[in-house]
């Protein structure tokens, strides 16, 4: 079999980004995925760090933090590259590393991220005097009255109006936002007609669940051009159409760039010669197959995706290369008494530690493999959910590993 310049293992945001970045540098790339990655869980926004100015806060992090291994340049380049890929798929993102842009969540709080899909950018709501919150008859998981109750805490002195529109979704099984987004793709007119009937003016905002199609902003464009008021999508319970749009944008780029994508490919182990990884072994129903590579990028995720596993307490494992895994030892360090505790959860800091080329290191800091790079949620040493850094770390570590 032909040797790939780069093999990327993992079909989440980090894996896609690594494959795209490597392909953009004219490398031959094979992407091996298994399962659906964690994009269906994603809010759609790319979180970089929980700080007013993420860029500055990241600069002040300790040297052990994954962002410090990645470096400011890769972070910057990755952000630009990400915006290029999404823009090409008509999925424009707004924001930059020095800003935090609010989006409205499905419970009516505001969530702040450095990069958000244009369809969710809620910064303009501040200038509106009337806010419509639109429920769709039969659509699950979107409760206008709860959203209004909580949103009122952020937007005082506005008029809120809950409305329910009928898109004829009722009558079958439960309808999720993802179902509605799929049904409305290339079939936007019923929604546009219902929203037009609200007679909203440019002074008004219309908040809707994330149902504006699954392909970039195409459905949004069809609806928006017919309205005088701005429309804003919220986040939702999984599966997330915003995550699906990202997935599609990347798939489009990868296909165009000649990346070989092999789905349903479970990598069971690496092929190793001394400090060099020469390939990976994929297992399917009947046999095993070896894929040779000059460089391998591990983007299999953390506990959620099975990139790290824990059968017994204090014994986390990285199942493919059996890499050493950093973790906080003992029950008292593993988790906090409160689920939402205002501090990092120990278990979420579990992961692989690397050098500044993102190569795995052992506990003494010695590099284990010269051509294996670890990215995204596989990386340990920080609680990416608490820090709100998962998206930023995913795209920037992937970009760095692919272009190093």
């Amino acid at each position: 079999m032909k040797t790939s310049d780069v093999i990327v293992i993992g079909g989440g945001l980090a894996g896609f980004m690594a494959a795209a970045a490597a392909a953009s540098r004219k490398q031959s790339v094979t992407l091996l995925t298994y399962g659906s990655g964690s994009l269906p869980l994603a809010s759609g926004a790319i979180d970089f760090f929980d700080a007013k100015i993420p860029e500055s806060a990241i600069k002040d992090l300790p040297d052990t933090h994954p962002y410090k291994k990645i470096g400011a340049k890769a972070l910057d380049d990755a952000t630009k590259f990400f915006c290029e890929i999404t823009a090409q798929a008509n999925l424009p993102y707004v924001g930059r590393l020095s800003t935090q842009i609010p989006i409205v969540t499905a419970v009516g709080t505001l969530k702040y991220s450095a990069l958000v899909p244009e369809s969710m950018d809620a910064s303009k709501i501040i200038s509106k005097s009337k806010i419509f919150v639109v429920e769709i008859a039969g659509l699950k998981d979107f409760y206008a009255s709860m959203i209004i109750d909580n949103l009122k805490k952020h937007f005082h002195d506005r008029t809120f109006q809950a409305v329910k529109i009928d898109l004829k979704l009722l009558g079958g099984r439960d309808i999720t936002c993802m179902d509605a987004a799929q049904l409305l793709t290339d079939n936007e007119q019923p929604l546009a007609n219902e929203l037009k009937a609200l007679n909203a003016t440019p002074d008004d905002a219309i908040i809707i669940p994330p149902i504006l199609g699954v392909a970039g902003n195409f459905s949004r464009d069809v609806v928006k051009t017919q309205l005088r008021a701005d429309i804003f999508e919220t986040t939702c319970l999984p599966p997330s159409p915003a995550g699906m749009r990202l997935q599609r944008a990347f798939m489009k780029y990868l296909q165009k760039s000649g990346v070989k994508i092999l789905e349903n490919s479970k990598v069971v182990r690496g092929v190793v010669e001394g400090k060099k990884v020469t390939g990976v072994v994929v297992e399917n129903v009947v046999r095993e197959k070896t894929f040779p590579a000059r460089k391998v990028i591990l983007a299999t995720g953390g506990f959620y995706s099975g990139g790290i596993t824990l059968r017994d307490f204090d014994k986390p494992k990285e199942p493919i290369f059996d890499l050493p895994v950093f973790f906080p030892e003992g029950a008292e360090n593993w988790s906090n008494t409160e689920l939402f505790s205002g501090k990092p959860q120990g278990f979420s800091t579990t992961g692989i530690l690397t050098d500044d080329k993102l190569r795995p290191v052992d506990s003494s800091g010695k590099v284990l493999f010269d051509n294996l790079h670890v990215v995204g949620a596989n990386l340990g040493g920080c609680d990416k959910i608490f820090e709100r850094s998962s998206g930023g770390i995913a795209i920037s570590s992937a970009f760095k590993a692919a272009t190093i």
Binding site: S38, L41, A42, S43, D47, D50, A51, K52, P54, Q100, T105, A106, V107, G108, T109, L110, K111, Y112, A137, G138, K140, D141, Y143, S145, M146, D149, N150, K153, L170, G171, D174, T235, C236, L237, P238, S240, G302, F303, Y304, G306, T309, L310, R311, D312, F313, A331, W334, S335, T337, E338, L339, F340, G342, Q345, F347, S348, I385, F386, R388, S390
Partner: protein
């Protein structure tokens, strides 16, 4: 002033049993509970309807009570009992001499214990350790759902005029010349303190009985004894599987629907509120459990939980596992307070008998000659096949039966009507446990629903595979809309409180696939929902 003939203190199985019994005998009774109903040992236990086999050697009186009440419970609470049967297995490390004693003990107590061959045992329970199991017997154990039993007890009591108030804590007693006049209570949400007039008060506060006694200046020998249990997300056994040895920790497996509960430990604790669990307790239960089922660690653990048995310690008596599982009734007229009684000890399986004995004494004082009928009359009427058939058009038949028995005839009828008339009410709020929006709305409107966890206990939302990942948002939203109490309105607090309740039981078992679910919880509620509402710092 509000008045009742009898105030029952404590909303566990014993208190609810007393409320039902008194109401059926025509006594005006009011139950007060400081938390939600069945929030103590009556839901924090195995869910084992004892055959008595477990007590056949040590305490034959308890064993005899168990087998009799076991038969009664199957009859009056048919839909609360899963008649899965029980098996006692002796392992190679267990004392064969104990087996002989046990066989004799069962015979003497009237418990049918049928010896079976090992081949039969492995056929019935394929996961049993073939290396270790040396002998096996079948006994009439069963699984019982403490929650369902409680809701049915309430419905039955209400039918006879029984009343209850939750989140209402007793803070004192009012007496004149050593005779009880009333009970002072506090509303836990508003802080309002008021008095309920009564002739008799029954302290059925379980592990809390000692605290209630102190309010009346009487000493009560109750020792809270914490038991920790593990719920697995699969049905590992078909029967209740007991170790055939001297009763010890971690030696009972009870299957309930699609899950299995393993327990329990026994540890004296000063505070019955202590329902904490730890990794060490879980590890020690698993270690014992895998002696019987070698591949136990390959099953996903759903959560762990603990409850406090209210062990009765007569003056100078034994504590812990050696303490009697029997019960005691104390008339505090001898302590200088006429009209005040305490009932303490016992176990879930015999709650009805305890209630009967207590009510016999109360009725004697009241000169009420009505006989107890709680052993004959079923707790609730059966939901009609017709109503079930109507419901089955909208959700899976497995879910229909469960919903029917937890809702009862009248509420189920209302829910079915909603399902028929409003398609949106058919949405599943909880996919894991098949709970429709119509049912959640109906329960939100109940006068005992103050927080989302109250709705959880009645509907089972959030108790299944995903442990609230999806239904936390939905339930908080529906509750904010439908809840009658002002506590319903802050949806973010209710949502966090609900998830925190789930987290408590997940934390000590945070490994394997449970870890995966938790990463999902955090990803949804912290990243996609920003449920804490924080702004960038």
């Amino acid at each position: 002033m509000e008045k009742a003939t009898v105030v029952v203190i404590g909303g566990g199985a014993t208190g609810l049993g007393i409320l039902r019994d008194l109401s059926m005998r025509g006594v005006k009774a009011l139950l007060v509970e400081k938390n939600d109903l069945v929030n103590g040992a009556s839901s924090r236990y195995h869910g084992l309807l004892h055959s008595g086999g477990r007590y056949a050697v040590k305490d034959q009186e308890a064993a005899k009570e168990c087998i009799i009440e076991n038969q009664i419970m199957r009859k009056i609470g048919k839909s609360c009992v899963e008649p899965c049967g029980g098996m006692f297995t002796r392992l190679d490390i267990d004392d064969p001499a104990y087996e002989e004693l046990w066989v004799k003990g069962c015979a003497d107590s009237g418990i049918e214990a049928t010896p079976i061959t090992l081949d039969e045992a492995f056929k019935l329970e394929p996961r049993l350790s073939r290396k270790r199991v040396k002998s096996a017997y079948l006994v009439p154990d069963a699984a019982v759902d403490g929650f369902r039993m409680a809701w049915q007890l309430i419905d039955s009591s209400k039918r006879y005029g029984g009343q209850l108030k939750t989140y209402t804590e007793v803070v004192g007693f009012d007496s004149v010349n050593g005779e009880l006049r009333g009970v002072k209570v506090r509303n836990q949400f508003t802080g309002e303190v008021y008095e309920i007039g009564c002739d008799i008060a029954v302290n059925a506060a379980g592990g809390w009985a000692g605290f209630v006694g102190k309010l009346a200046n009487v000493e009560i020998g109750v020792q809270p004894d914490k038991g920790t249990l593990i719920a697995f997300n699969q049905r590992i056994t078909n029967h209740v599987v007991n170790r055939l040895h001297k009763s010890s920790d971690g030696d009972i497996f009870v299957p309930h629907g699609s899950i299995t509960i393993l327990g329990t430990s026994s540890m004296s604790v000063p505070d019955p509120e202590d329902t904490s669990t730890s990794r060490e307790e879980v590890e020690s239960l698993l270690k014992i459990g895998e002696e019987t089922f070698e591949d136990l660690r390959d099953f996903r653990i759903l959560r762990t939980f603990a409850g406090s048995r209210p062990l009765y310690i007569p003056p100078g008596g034994a504590v812990g596992r050696s303490a009697s599982r029997g019960f005691a009734i104390v008339d505090h007229a001898n302590d200088g307070l006429k009209g005040f009684f305490t009932i303490v000890g016992g176990k879930f399986t015999t709650y009805r008998l305890m209630a009967e004995k207590m009510c016999d004494q109360i009725c004697a004082k009241l000169n009420n000659k009505t006989a107890c009928r709680t052993a004959e009359e079923p707790l609730v009427e059966e939901v009609s096949d017709n109503d079930k058939a109507r419901a089955k058009k909208f959700f899976p038949s497995y879910g229909t039966n469960l919903a029917a028995t937890r809702l009862g005839v009248e509420r189920f009828k209302k829910v079915v009507e909603r399902l028929e008339n409003d398609p949106e009410s058919r949405q599943l709020v909880c996919e894991c446990e098949n709970v429709t929006r119509a049912e959640v709305e109906e329960i939100c409107k109940s006068d005992t629903s103050f927080i989302v966890n109250d709705v959880r206990r009645r509907t089972r939302i959030g108790m299944g595979t995903c442990q609230g990942n999806f239904c936390a948002l939905r339930a908080a939203a529906v509750f904010a809309d439908m809840g009658v109490e002002s506590t319903a309105k802050d949806s973010l607090i209710r949502m966090r409180e609900f998830l925190q309740g789930r987290w408590k039981g997940i934390r000590p078992v945070l490994l394997g696939r449970t870890l995966r679910e938790t990463e999902m919880t955090r990803s949804i509620y912290e990243l996609s929902m920003n449920v804490t509402g924080g702004e960038p710092q």
